[in-house]
């Protein structure tokens, strides 16, 4: 990668989130807890989801990972906590679409807000999984929490 790409990867928003790690730490209550690993590099996240009816009341997490994966967890929780599951879906979809678009997808800032900063990571095959790790964990947790409540 070239050095201007480096700067577009490590935007201030990302470095800032990586440092502040909003909503980090594992909290109670929760309906689902999942543990996801990036087998390639070993990055890990344990993520808990707490729903109240349709509303995402809390997403708490404990992660070991690079600045991209830490920042991604931080941004995600900031974006999704407080929203309904239905409201979260288009944001989640847009994030996945951007990350899997190999840098070809023009992200919508109105939907993604701070998460738009990961557009630089989307261009780097090796970093896509870093950015996706907590988002995939959320999706998995959501499925489990919903299964739970169906029982």
């Amino acid at each position: 990668m070239m050095s201007h790409e480096l700067d577009s990867l490590y935007q201030d928003i990302i470095l800032d989130h990586a440092k502040r790690r909003l909503n980090a730490g594992l909290r109670e209550p929760f309906e689902a807890e999942v543990h996801h690993v990036n087998p390639t590099c070993g990055d890990e996240v344990t993520l808990r989801l707490h729903l109240e009816g349709d509303v995402i009341r809390d997403i708490s997490y404990d992660n070991q990972g690079c600045s991209i994966s830490s920042a991604s967890a931080s941004v995600m929780t900031e974006l999704l906590i407080g929203k309904t599951v239905a409201e979260a879906k288009p944001i989640h979809d847009a994030f996945l679409e951007m990350m899997r678009g190999k840098g070809q997808v023009e992200p919508d800032e109105d939907v993604l807000e701070d998460a738009i900063a990961f557009a630089g990571a989307a261009k780097l095959t090796a970093r896509i999984k870093c950015a996706l790790l907590s988002w995939m964990a959320y999706q998995d947790a959501l499925v489990r929490a919903q299964e739970e409540s169906d029982v």
Binding site: V37, P39, C41, G42, T125, A126, R127
Partner: protein, 423 residues
């Protein structure tokens, strides 16, 4: 024989031949090479070689694990090979395409993991595995090892006199106890094309899984893993104008996800602790260690090359050449073709006997005239035994084969007869 009129030949055959540098070689002290051993291994077009060289000279790095520029390029090229193979097979998902070292490993992978599987897939005492008498050793021995080791029973379809699978006892073979039905799509010895969709349907009725050896089919026929009805389809890189060192296993996702890992090691894990490990999802679960990287890159170029020409066109070419060869061979006195005599029912490998001359001696005389064929059992001893012969001579054509090369073979066989002073 007049060869100009042959219907179905690839239109730009000379252009295609020019893609294969080895075809310019001379052998036997200056004679042009007549390579009729493509069922053994195919020759490689320049684009496959160049793609591999470019990878080695400019993009070489290990995959998945590397974060740097070369690592990203190499990973993209390697995974691009998987995408190309998935497209070649019409696979529903690229994750269902697993790279092995050859077709043999792919077949062993299935046989081995069925021994260690938990639940209904596990093959054990009392279970039946069905193969056929027409198989390559690579689709017999793994199942012998599996059934011997687990106490299961191996059964097999026989062969009819005209070289087809004998399906007369299919109800007995495919029964409630049958866990696996495995067969070759196209025989490497008899050339026979088997009715795979029909057999797969029968196997699925009893809940057996169907493993298809497409090693000879993939070079010659359009392969659609969904349409063929199998659960697992394997083939080998070096027979589809790709390099050695790589084979392909396609499997239905649900099946692959239920099978335990085969080889353990780097890349196939999710997490490793000394006390125990968990495994990655497919395809990586089945790809332990550094994969055949430059080989996957070369295989990707190979299947693209074939697809660009068109598998339908290649199939028509093979049928035209095969028909022409069947006709020519039968003009040779004392020559008997093993397997179906109708080119429409078969692939491009033709095994035959020449009365009074051992296949080695046939091949040796042909070699002195620049004609390369295979002599021996072609890794199909049971099929030879079925026809009461111990070995045979086999010619096998491919997309670069010309009618003139078939003429050279037929002439060479006449010469062989005279060399050994047959009347």
């Amino acid at each position: 024989m007049t060869t100009t009129q042959l219907v179905g030949l690839l239109p730009e055959l000379e252009v295609i031949r020019a893609d294969f540098p080895i075809l310019e070689r001379t052998v036997a002290g200056g004679l042009p090479l007549v390579y009729l051993d493509s069922a053994n291994t195919s020759q490689k077009p320049q684009v496959v070689i160049d793609t591999m060289v470019d990878h080695l000279e400019r993009h070489n790095a290990n995959v998945a694990r590397a974060m740097h520029a070369l690592g990203a390029e190499s990973t993209e090229a390697f995974e691009g090979g998987r995408d190309r193979v998935a497209a070649f097979l019409n696979a529903p998902s690229r994750d269902e395409v697993i790279f092995t070292k050859n077709a043999s490993e792919a077949l062993n992978l299935v046989a081995n993991t069925l021994a260690w599987a938990q639940g209904p897939l596990r093959v054990g005492e009392g279970d039946v595995v069905v193969t056929t008498e027409m198989e390559h050793h690579s689709n017999i021995v793994p199942w012998q090892l599996l059934t011997e080791r687990t106490g299961a029973t191996l059964k097999w379809f026989g062969i009819t006199d005209d070289g087809h699978l004998d399906l007369a006892n299919i109800d007995e073979l495919i029964s409630e106890r049958t866990k696996v039905v495995t067969l070759t799509w196209v025989s490497n010895m008899l050339g026979t094309i088997n009715p795979v969709a029909e057999i797969a349907r029968r196997a699925h009725e009893v809940g057996a899984i169907v493993v298809l050896d497409a090693s000879q089919a993939a070079p010659q026929l359009p392969v659609d893993v969904v349409a063929c009805g199998a659960d697992v389809v394997v083939f080998t890189g070096h027979k589809v104008v790709g390099p050695t060192g790589i084979g392909v296993l396609w499997g239905r996702r649900e099946l692959l996800e239920q099978l335990p890992p085969f080889l353990g090691g780097g890349e196939m894990i999710e997490t490793v602790r000394m006390e125990g490990s968990t495994y990655a999802g497919i395809p990586h679960k089945f790809e332990a260690g550094t994969p055949p990287i430059v080989e996957a890159v070369g295989l990707g170029a190979a299947v693209d090359y074939l697809s660009h020409i068109g598998m339908d066109a290649i199939h028509r070419h093979e049928q035209a050449i095969t028909a022409y060869a069947l006709e020519g061979l039968q003009t040779v006195r004392g020559l008997t073709v093993l397997g179906p005599l109708d080119a429409a029912e078969r692939g491009g490998a033709i095994s035959f006997e020449l009365d009074g001359v051992h296949p080695h001696d046939v091949a040796q005389v042909l070699d002195s005239r620049g004609v390369a064929v295979r002599a021996g059992h072609h890794c199909a001893k049971p099929a030879h035994a079925r026809f009461g012969v111990q070995s045979s001579t086999r010619m096998s054509s491919y997309l670069y084969t010309t009618p003139a090369e078939i003429d050279a073979l037929v002439d060479g066989l006449e010469y062989t007869r005279s060399y050994f002073k047959l009347g």
